[in-house]
C-alpha cells in the first residue's frame, strides 16, 4: 500500500513532478553522455597512437625525439629477437624504419615522414581496419610507395604517378630515388594521412642505406594492460629504449582527465540543482498534505512510516528521472558506440594536427550507466530526507484538523 500511495502521490501533480524529473533527467543524461564521450575520446586518442605509431610497446633509439617531424637515422639498430620468456604475452611484433625525406612531384614538394614497413608483419601490429587504399599497398621495393591522402593532395599526386624522394642516408649523404605511386591511403590517422609516405622495408633501407637496421620495433601484446610489466621484464638492446603506449599517450590522457573533472563539476552542479528541485517538490507536497499526514498517523502510521513514504516518493522521482536520463544519454552513447562519429572533417580543418583517430567511438559501459542511475536515485533520496523529516514531525492531533 505504501508503494501504491507513493506512486499515486507522484501522479497527483504531474506537471510539478515532470519539472522536478527533468532536472534529474538532465543531470544523469549529461553524466552518461559525458562519460561516454570522454571515455570514447580517451580510447580514440590511445588508438590513434597505438594503431599507427607505437603498438603496445615500442623499442627505439635512446633519446629519440618525440615531438615535431623529427626522425634521425644516426642510431638505427637491428631488429631484436624477443626473449622466449616474454613470447607468450606477445601477439605480434614488427620493425619500422622512419626517416625524414623531401617528396617532389613536378613543381610541388613537401617534407614528409617516410615509413618503411615489413609487408608481412606490419599489419599484425598496426591495425589497418580504417584504411581506405586507392591503388595497392606495396609489398616490395618494386611496387613503389603509398602516399598518405593529405600528402597526395599537397603534391597533387595520384596512383600511377611518379614522385621523387630525397633523403639523407645513414652516413649523411643525400640520396634520391624516383618512385612510382602504388596507392593513396586514407587511414583517419593524421600521423599517416597528413605527413607519411609508406614503402616496403627494403625500399626504405635502400634509400637510407641502412644495412638492414631499423629505427623502431613495435610489439602488440595480447593484453595491453601488461605493457608496463612487459617493459620491466624486457632488457632492451644497448642504445635503445623501450616505452609503453601508456607513456606515449600520457599527455593526451592528462587532458582527458581534466575534461572528466570539468564534466564531473558540471554534473555535480546539475544534480545539485535537481536535488534542490526534488527537495522543494517534496517539501511543498508535505505542506500541502498536512491533513493527510495527520490522517495516516491517526490510522496507525508511525513517524518512520511517514518518513519512509516521502523518501520513497523522492527516491521514485529520482529513479524515474535517472532511468530516463540514462536511457536518453545511454541511447546516444550506444548509437555512437556502434556507428562512430566521423571526425575526418575536423582533422582536415586543423591541418591534421589533432592527435586523434578519424572515427570516434563513444565508450558504452553498462556499469557506468547503472552507476549513474543509482547515483541519481540516491541523490534524490537524500534530497527528500529533510522534507520527509518535516512531514514526519507533524503533530498528528494538529495535522488531522489542518
Amino acid at each position: 500500500m505504501m508503494l501504491r500511495l507513493a506512486v499515486r502521490n507522484l501522479l497527483r501533480n504531474t506537471r510539478r513532478t515532470v519539472l522536478s524529473l527533468a532536472a534529474v533527467v538532465a543531470g544523469v543524461g549529461v553524466l552518461v553522455l559525458g562519460q561516454g564521450f570522454i571515455g570514447g575520446m580517451e580510447e580514440n586518442a590511445i588508438r590513434a597512437v597505438v594503431d599507427t605509431s607505437t603498438g603496445h610497446v615500442l623499442l627505439r633509439p635512446a633519446g629519440y625525439p618525440t615531438e615535431g617531424l623529427q626522425h634521425p637515422v644516426d642510431d638505427l639498430f637491428q631488429s631484436p629477437v624477443l626473449p622466449a620468456e616474454l613470447a607468450a604475452s606477445v601477439e605480434a611484433s614488427a620493425p619500422r624504419l622512419l626517416f625524414i625525406a623531401r617528396a617532389i612531384h613536378g613543381p610541388d614538394a613537401m617534407r614528409i615522414r617516410a615509413i618503411g614497413f615489413d609487408p608481412e608483419r606490419d599489419a599484425t601490429v598496426f591495425s589497418r581496419g580504417t584504411w581506405h587504399v586507392d591503388g595497392a599497398t606495396p609489398k616490395s621495393a618494386a611496387d613503389g610507395v603509398l602516399l598518405g591522402a593529405g600528402v597526395a593532395r599537397n603534391l597533387r599526386a595520384k596512383t600511377g604517378d611518379t614522385i621523387v624522394l630525397q633523403a639523407r642516408t645513414r652516413a649523411g649523404a643525400i640520396n634520391a630515388l624516383e618512385l612510382k605511386v602504388a596507392g593513396v591511403v586514407a587511414t583517419g590517422a593524421p600521423f599517416i594521412d597528413q605527413t607519411a609516405v609508406m614503402m616496403a622495408m627494403d625500399q626504405a633501407q635502400t634509400l637510407v642505406i641502412a644495412d638492414g637496421a631499423v629505427s623502431h620495433f613495435a610489439v602488440r601484446l595480447h593484453d595491453r594492460d601488461d605493457a608496463t610489466a612487459f617493459v620491466q621484464r624486457w632488457t632492451a638492446p644497448a642504445g635503445t629504449e623501450a616505452t609503453t603506449w601508456i607513456a606515449e599517450t600520457a599527455a593526451v590522457l592528462r587532458i582527458q582527465s581534466i575534461r572528466r573533472a570539468a564534466l564531473n563539476l558540471l554534473v555535480a552542479a546539475l544534480l545539485g540543482m535537481s536535488a534542490a528541485g526534488i527537495a522543494n517538490t517534496i517539501l511543498m507536497a508535505a505542506y500541502e498534505r498536512v491533513r493527510e499526514v495527520g490522517t495516516l498517523r491517526a490510522l496507525g502510521f508511525t513517524r518512520r512510516d511517514v518518513l519512509a513514504l516521502f523518501v520513497l516518493e523522492g527516491a521514485m522521482m529520482g529513479a524515474i528521472g535517472a532511468l530516463l536520463g540514462a536511457a536518453l544519454g545511454g541511447g546516444v552513447v550506444y548509437h555512437y558506440h556502434q556507428v562512430g562519429i566521423d571526425l575526418s572533417g575536423l582533422i582536415e580543418q586543423t591541418g591534421g594536427n589533432l592527435p586523434i583517430a578519424a572515427m570516434l567511438y563513444t565508450d558504452w559501459s553498462p556499469p557506468t550507466v547503472a552507476g549513474a542511475v543509482a547515483f541519481g536515485t540516491v541523490i534524490a533520496m537524500l534530497a527528500s530526507v529533510y522534507p520527509a523529516h518535516v512531514a514526519s514531525r507533524m503533530v498528528p492531533a494538529d495535522a488531522v484538523r489542518a
Binding site: 500500500m1 501504491r4 499515486r8 491533513r291 495527520g294 490522517t295 496507525g300 488531522v400 484538523r401
Partner: protein
C-alpha cells in the same frame, strides 16, 4: 474495567502568560457500547479530550487508560499501534486519502491494523456495502458526495472492529439529510455491533441520539447526563 478511563487529565498549550489551559483536571469513564457526546462551546477542550482518548496526544498530567492500558508511558510507535488496532476515527472533513479509492481507503485502515491480506478486500467491500456504498467501491473521494465520503470514513473506522470510534464533529460538513443518514448509520452500528462511539459536536441532532452527554466548559466537565 472501563473501556476508557481518564483521571484528572491536564493539558496546557504554550507557556508563561501565553499558556492556554485546554484541560484542567478532567476525569471521565466510558464503558463499552456507549454512544456518548462531548459537547461544549468552541475552546472548551472537546477536541483536546478526544485527542487524548484517541492517543493522538498525551496529557501533561493525570492518566488516560484505554482498555486498562496507561497510554502515558507508551512511545510513538506503541501509540500508533494502539490507534491502528483499537481506535477508529471519523473526522469533520472526512479526511479520506484522495489518491485512494473508497475500497483502498478502507483497506489501508485494515492493513495497518494488521489484518492478513487474504480476504481483506472482501471484508472491506462488505463493510462498504453495509454502509450503503456497495456500488461505489472504486470511486475516489472527489467522485463522491460529502455524505458518501463520510460513509466511507465510517466504514474505514468500523472495518477493523475497534474498541472505540471517535467522531469529531462528524455531521458539521454535511447537509441535514446526509447528516441524519450518517448519524442513523452510526447509531445502527452501535446498536447492532455494540461499537462504542464518542462524539464531539454542537449538532442538536447528534445530541438527541446520544445516550450520554458530557458537557465541557473551560477545560472542565460541568455536566454529565445519562439518558434512557
Amino acid at each position: 474495567m472501563s473501556l476508557v478511563s481518564v483521571v484528572n487529565a491536564v493539558k496546557t498549550y504554550g507557556t508563561g502568560e501565553a499558556a492556554v489551559h485546554a484541560l484542567r483536571g478532567v476525569s471521565i469513564e466510558i464503558e463499552p457500547a456507549e454512544f456518548t457526546v462531548i459537547s461544549g462551546p468552541s475552546g472548551s477542550g472537546k477536541s483536546t479530550l478526544l485527542n487524548l482518548i484517541g492517543c493522538l496526544d498525551v496529557p501533561d498530567g493525570g492518566t488516560v487508560r484505554i482498555e486498562g492500558r496507561d497510554v502515558n508511558g507508551l512511545d510513538g510507535s506503541s501509540l500508533a499501534a494502539l490507534r491502528a488496532a483499537r481506535i477508529g476515527f471519523i473526522f469533520q472533513s472526512f479526511n479520506l486519502i484522495p489518491v485512494l479509492t473508497a475500497l483502498e481507503n478502507v483497506e489501508l485502515a485494515l492493513q495497518l491494523a494488521g489484518a492478513p491480506a487474504a480476504g481483506r478486500r472482501e471484508k472491506c467491500a462488505e463493510t462498504l456495502t453495509a454502509v450503503g456504498l456497495g456500488g461505489l467501491l472504486d470511486r475516489r473521494p472527489n467522485q463522491l458526495s460529502g455524505g458518501q465520503q463520510q460513509r466511507v470514513a465510517v466504514a474505514r473506522a468500523l472495518v477493523k472492529q475497534p474498541a472505540l470510534v471517535i467522531a469529531d464533529e462528524p455531521t458539521a460538513n454535511l447537509d441535514s439529510t446526509s447528516g441524519t443518514a450518517v448519524l442513523d448509520l452510526m447509531r445502527d452500528m452501535n446498536a447492532a455491533r455494540g461499537v462504542t462511539f464518542l462524539f464531539s459536536t454542537h449538532d442538536p441532532k447528534v445530541m438527541e441520539r446520544a445516550r450520554r452527554v458530557v458537557t465541557l466548559t473551560d477545560g472542565q466537565i460541568t455536566a454529565d447526563e445519562f439518558r434512557t
